[in-house]
């Protein structure tokens, strides 16, 4: 697979991934990951200062499912619309069977009765498995610029 083909495959994966989130099909979200994948949402500040703390982290696919169950059944938050914009997807390298994929993103949020605002922006630093099967994330690290989160960050980014 050429880098160009890998980029297309990664873009397709990201396109489906964000529209899944924007359409609130949360139950499908873990299925964008391999069985051994991990997921992490980190403030850029912690990355820069060498701190490991994540805002949201799933060490296993089980934790991703638990996160979804908790969002659906155990969390109290107001309904909101999210809209992801993913741009400038780039293959930055390979690591074993995975491609390293980087992209810029912004999440726009619309709360009831309010204007649409930039809720969160940053970059994706992903490892994507592009084998024979469907492309999946082996690792997804979301590094966000928006250090001061307005309200709460409930839905994965």
């Amino acid at each position: 697979m050429t880098d160009r083909e890998a980029k297309w495959a990664a873009e397709d994966l990201l396109d489906r991934y964000v529209q899944c989130l924007d359409e609130e099909r949360l139950e499908e979200w873990p299925e964008f990951f391999t069985d051994s994948a991990s997921y992490r949402v980190m403030p850029r500040e912690n990355v820069e200062r060498g701190y490991e703390l994540a805002t949201m982290s799933c060490d296993s696919k089980g934790m991703m499912k638990d996160r979804v169950v908790a969002i659906r059944n155990a969390s109290v938050f107001s309904r909101r619309y999210l809209r992801h914009l993913v741009t400038n997807v780039r293959i930055t390298g390979r690591e074993g069977e995975c491609y390293l994929v980087q992209a810029n993103y912004a999440v726009l949020q619309t709360l009831p009765g309010e204007e649409t605002k930039v809720f969160n922006a940053g970059r994706y630093a992903d490892k994507v498995l592009l084998g024979n099967g469907e492309p999946k994330f082996q690792e997804k690290i979301v590094i966000y610029d928006s250090l001061q989160i307005p309200g709460m960050l409930v839905i994965p980014v």
């Binding site: 949402v41 403030p43 500040e45 912690n46 200062r49 701190y51 490991e52 703390l53 994540a54 805002t55 949201m56 982290s57 060490d59 296993s60 696919k61 089980g62 934790m63 499912k65 638990d66 996160r67 169950v69 908790a70 059944n73 155990a74 969390s75 109290v76 938050f77 107001s78 250090l147 001061q148 989160i149 307005p150 309200g151 709460m152 960050l153 409930v154």
Partner: protein, 427 residues
């Protein structure tokens, strides 16, 4: 000759506290900009100890960070000798913010505008062209002859570092921090901060559209935890029917909620807990896997230190939550997650994993964020109504159960004292 008795008018900023006392909280305390201004002056810039950071954030000479006390921006520095200083972030010349970075290391503080230099203690050490500039063989301009560096330092706050935790006060007459806490509160404080070196795990930050006092109330309110938090309740992390207590210092301003993890089982109490889901299980239970690390069996100890700090222990996730008011309708909440230098690799992982419970995405704390924002919206619906705070009675006593709002009443007792209100005065 008639005697006229002047009855003191218990009004502050044109407002009178409800006659029921601290069993009521009038909603204008969350909304009125004048009350907010008074809080800044009498509480945050008044006789209180305010959390500004952990020593572990500033390990080396020259390390500094910027933060705020109330809405007053301050600089925290560690000087050449290793001493800590807290300084108002306002240049003595023409008022510019001196320190513009969130953190860093520098052996001096230099204002960008005219490069006045201060040492890490806040003393003015240099003023460019103070003596003027050469004009032929003499000098012109510069500062008047009576100018003295000593008169123009940064405003210095009183500082006390307590077992690794740094507090500051605008009031230089403050008693020592331990006296300010009282022995009961000190006990819980020292339980976490026993002098062992701390380790920064990382930061998360939120801006909540709610008055800062709602954050304090939330943590002083064990009642909600059994009801609002499905996650806590279902996994027995915090339940009204577990062994627990609510304690306060003598003023009522500080308090602690103490509880223990129980089983995920139904009980007489669960009938009141609509949130309880007995069949709730995790795909990956390692999320909740914890380890006993303190001398007692308490797994939840939430301490509120008046006026701006929450010390959080939820199993093994430890954090300082610093409250930074941003006007009556918003505050920033800074979460400093920490552990101990002595944590082994496993413990580091545990803390990171459990951090999923807290912060802006916390499986528990998201509910609180929502509740606080909903309160701010709700109270604005009718600012002249009052909260009804009578759970567990109308007094402010320590209790050994969770079905009480005593610590909220205690908080407002102290709040009224500091602002000058006379709660429950006959009208």
């Amino acid at each position: 000759m008639a005697t006229i008795t002047v009855k003191p008018e218990p009004s502050v900023a044109g407002r009178v506290w409800p006659k029921e006392g601290v069993a009521r909280v009038p909603y204008w305390v969350y909304l009125d900009p004048e009350i907010y201004a008074l809080e800044q002056q009498r509480i945050f810039r008044g006789p209180t100890w305010n959390y500004v950071g952990l020593e572990a954030e500033l390990p080396k000479s020259g390390d500094f960070k910027t933060t705020s006390i109330g809405d007053a921006p301050v600089i925290v520095t560690r000087d050449r000798e290793g001493a800590l200083h807290v300084l108002l972030n306002q240049c003595a010349h023409r008022g510019s913010r001196v320190c513009r970075d969130p953190y860093g290391n520098s052996m001096k503080l230099q204002c960008i505008y005219h490069q006045w230099n201060y040492d890490l203690k806040g003393n003015l050490t240099g003023v460019p062209f103070r003596g003027g500039v050469a004009a032929g063989d003499h000098k012109v301009g510069g500062m008047p002859a009576d100018f003295s560096l000593r008169d123009h330092g940064l405003q210095k706050l009183k500082v006390e570092a307590v077992n690794g935790v740094i507090f500051a006060s605008f009031d230089h007459n403050m008693p020592p921090f331990r006296d300010y806490l009282g022995e009961t509160m000190w006990y819980y404080f020292e339980r976490i901060f026993d002098g062992r070196p701390l380790r920064i795990v990382g930061y998360v930050r939120q801006k909540l559209a709610a008055n800062w006092k709602l954050m304090f109330e939330n943590i002083k309110d064990p009642y909600h935890a059994s009801l609002l938090h499905v996650f806590l309740v279902s996994f027995g992390l915090f339940r009204a029917d577990q062994k627990s207590k609510v304690e306060m210092d003598q003023t009522g301003g500080h308090s602690v909620l103490v509880s223990r993890k129980g089983d995920q089982k139904a009980s007489q109490g669960t009938t009141d807990m609509a949130s309880f889901k007995s069949d709730y299980t995790l795909h990956d239970p390692s999320l909740l896997a914890g380890r006993k690390e303190f001398k007692d069996e308490n797994t939840v100890v939430m301490q509120t230190l008046f006026p701006s700090l929450i010390v959080q222990q939820q199993t093994n996730t430890l954090a300082m939550r610093q409250i930074l008011p941003l006007g009556p309708n918003a505050f920033e909440l800074v979460w400093d997650f920490f552990g101990y230098e002595s944590d082994d690799q496993e413990m580091r992982k545990i803390r990171l994993r459990q951090a999923n419970l807290m912060g802006p995405s916390g499986l528990v704390s998201v509910d609180d964020s929502e509740a606080m924002e909903m309160c701010q919206k709700g109270v604005a619906a009718e600012a002249d109504a009052n909260a009804f705070v009578e759970l567990g009675g109308r007094e402010c006593n320590n209790e050994d159960h969770m079905v009480t709002e005593t610590a909220i009443r205690g908080f407002y007792k102290h709040y009224c004292h500091m602002l000058g209100f006379q709660p429950g005065a006959s009208h």
